[in-house]
Symmetry: C2
Subunit: 338 residues, 2 copies
């Protein structure tokens, strides 16, 4: 699988220069002309040259290390996924290295480069909110390194994936608000370039339609963090828009909304009921405690890692697999009138 890597000698032979010239050109050495550097770098890119190819071809074996690309470590959901990944990986004798994209497409690209240079045997990716071009992810497959998407996938990209049924979970979360008598339910939505943002909104709309509540997108707000939730609530209050429920795309958004409403003297859940998504570590310590969708982050990590190890250890290719995990709604004080 890791045979036939391009070496410095291949590039030198092709360009009719010495290997040491190629080596120095790749290192941006001052002795080498700009023209040569350009030619070397272009060919290296074209031939998919990897700096460690020599070591790889010498080793002809696994590094027993897998890589994770994670959008934001600070989210409890993602740190739970990491725990799940690590527990399965270490148990199977694999080490784990983590790269954080911090929701930036450029860092995600750098992450891929770093993990490939570290000779990982496979990579688990959840794409950043900003990623719109996927060539760096294609590069992973081109390098014959198995790739698994977890949580945030790229539709149409041929790789194994583990996802939560976000549509179904959002539908159930919204139905819970409908069942508790709410009729003017707002949705604080995530970015619509991400499938999870789309599906959570669609689930919300479906539940309302099923209940004969025709709001369309009139109460959908673009708010997916604490601060944006605060601003969205202020906008709602200032415009005099009537709401009696909020389904938020994640917990921090829900908590930001709850706090801002409370500061204006609005009672939760009596006047406005709130449901979050992700069931973070802190949904139990707000006042009232927060109703939320448990995303099973740890389970997602374990499932994704088992899929990755299967790919790494398999001697043959097989069709891509998709695993769908079902989320539970954890009902707490923010939506339950006692």
């Amino acid at each position: 699988m890791k045979k036939g890597f391009v070496t410095i000698k291949d590039i030198a032979w092709e360009l009719k220069v010495s290997p040491s010239t190629v080596s120095r050109a790749l290192k941006d050495h001052p002795d080498i002309s700009g023209e040569t550097k350009r030619a070397v770098n272009e060919l290296a890119e074209k031939l998919n040259y990897q700096p460690n190819a020599v070591a790889l071809s010498l080793k002809q074996q696994r590094s027993n290390t897998i890589g994770i690309i994670i959008p934001e470590i600070v989210h409890y959901f993602f740190s739970s996924v990491i725990s799940g990944i690590e527990d399965v990986a270490y148990e199977a004798g694999f080490n784990v290295i983590i790269c954080q994209s911090n929701e930036m497409a450029n860092r995600e690209k750098a992450n891929v480069k770093t993990l490939l240079a570290s000779q990982v045997d496979g990579i688990l990716v959840s794409v950043s909110k900003e990623t719109k071009d996927f060539s760096h992810l294609e590069k992973i497959l081109k390098n014959k390194v198995p790739l698994i998407f977890y949580d945030r996938i790229v539709p149409g990209f041929l790789a194994d994936q583990v996802i939560i049924d976000d549509f179904d979970a959002a539908c159930r979360a919204t139905r819970h608000l409908v069942d508790s008598g709410r009729k003017r339910i707002a949705h604080f939505a995530g970015p619509q370039n991400l499938l999870i943002g789309q599906q959570r909104k669609e689930g919300y709309k479906k539940a309302l339609e099923d209940a004969g509540i025709h709001l369309g997108e009139t109460l959908v707000y673009n708010a997916d963090n604490f601060e944006k939730a605060r601003l969205a609530v202020l906008k709602i209050l200032e415009s005099g828009t009537d709401i009696d429920g909020i389904f938020a795309v994640n917990d921090l958004t829900a908590i930001g909304a709850m706090q801002t409403l409370q500061k204006r003297g609005i009672k939760i859940p009596n006047e406005v009921a709130i449901v979050g998504f992700s069931d973070g570590r802190f949904s139990g310590i707000t006042d009232p405690t927060l109703t939320s969708v448990d995303q099973h982050g740890y389970e997602m990590g374990t499932v994704a890692t088992r899929m990755l190890l299967k790919r790494i250890l398999s001697k043959e290719d097989y069709p891509c697999e998709t695993k769908v995990l079902h989320a539970n709604l954890i009902v707490r004080g923010s939506s339950q009138v006692s």
Copy 2:
């Protein structure tokens, strides 16, 4: 700096066998006798052979990647440190890979191995609560890879370090409780094999002594997480021990204590005032909000990374440096009677 690595040839020469025998022995190849494997592995260990030495000596250049070993990613403080590290590193053209020890000495050892195999140019370490043997950290220096400790250091270990003045911060946090009239102040303490656990306790004791309050260790409880805090509070209540303040070693411990007291009908801060440590993301959303020590995680990350880059880029050796950051107490509702 990365010259003189031991290669497979060196081992072969020393043992008077062929390089391919050494290579296969290291890969545990069935054709090689147990005796030869033992001899090869023992010598490889003794000479500090690294599998990628060939690639390294070919490259003779930096990987432009630095490694982080972090105890628990789920803590807001540590994820802030990571953000600080990443911002400085990426700005300087370095990539970052993260390994989580999850407070396990064995995983920390595996982390070091993984980062060295990934040819990082330097490593930032905060030691796990469980680590008592430090040979894996010595191995980093033996490999001539710069090492910086942040937050949790190893006393007497010759490496650069960035720390918070925990003693001073704990002293000020406790003095704040004393100044607000509290006399029966408990300390929920961290493990005493970690310097930060020791220093926070010593700061607590110093503030009490300065105020003429002689409690010794009678109100010190071994509790450094949510659940242990709950148990410690139950113990206090069941034994009828009188307390009017708690200084907790971290925020989650403080929040666990607060919640357990509130569930028993005890008013915060009127009956018991509470101060945490670390000023996490959620100190602002508890009810009441939590007074806490701001540990400047982001700043710690930036300072540590600048120290590391200086080491990596320096052509000569220089004495180890220690930077001490001063923490601020953020007074909020849990200690302030309005």
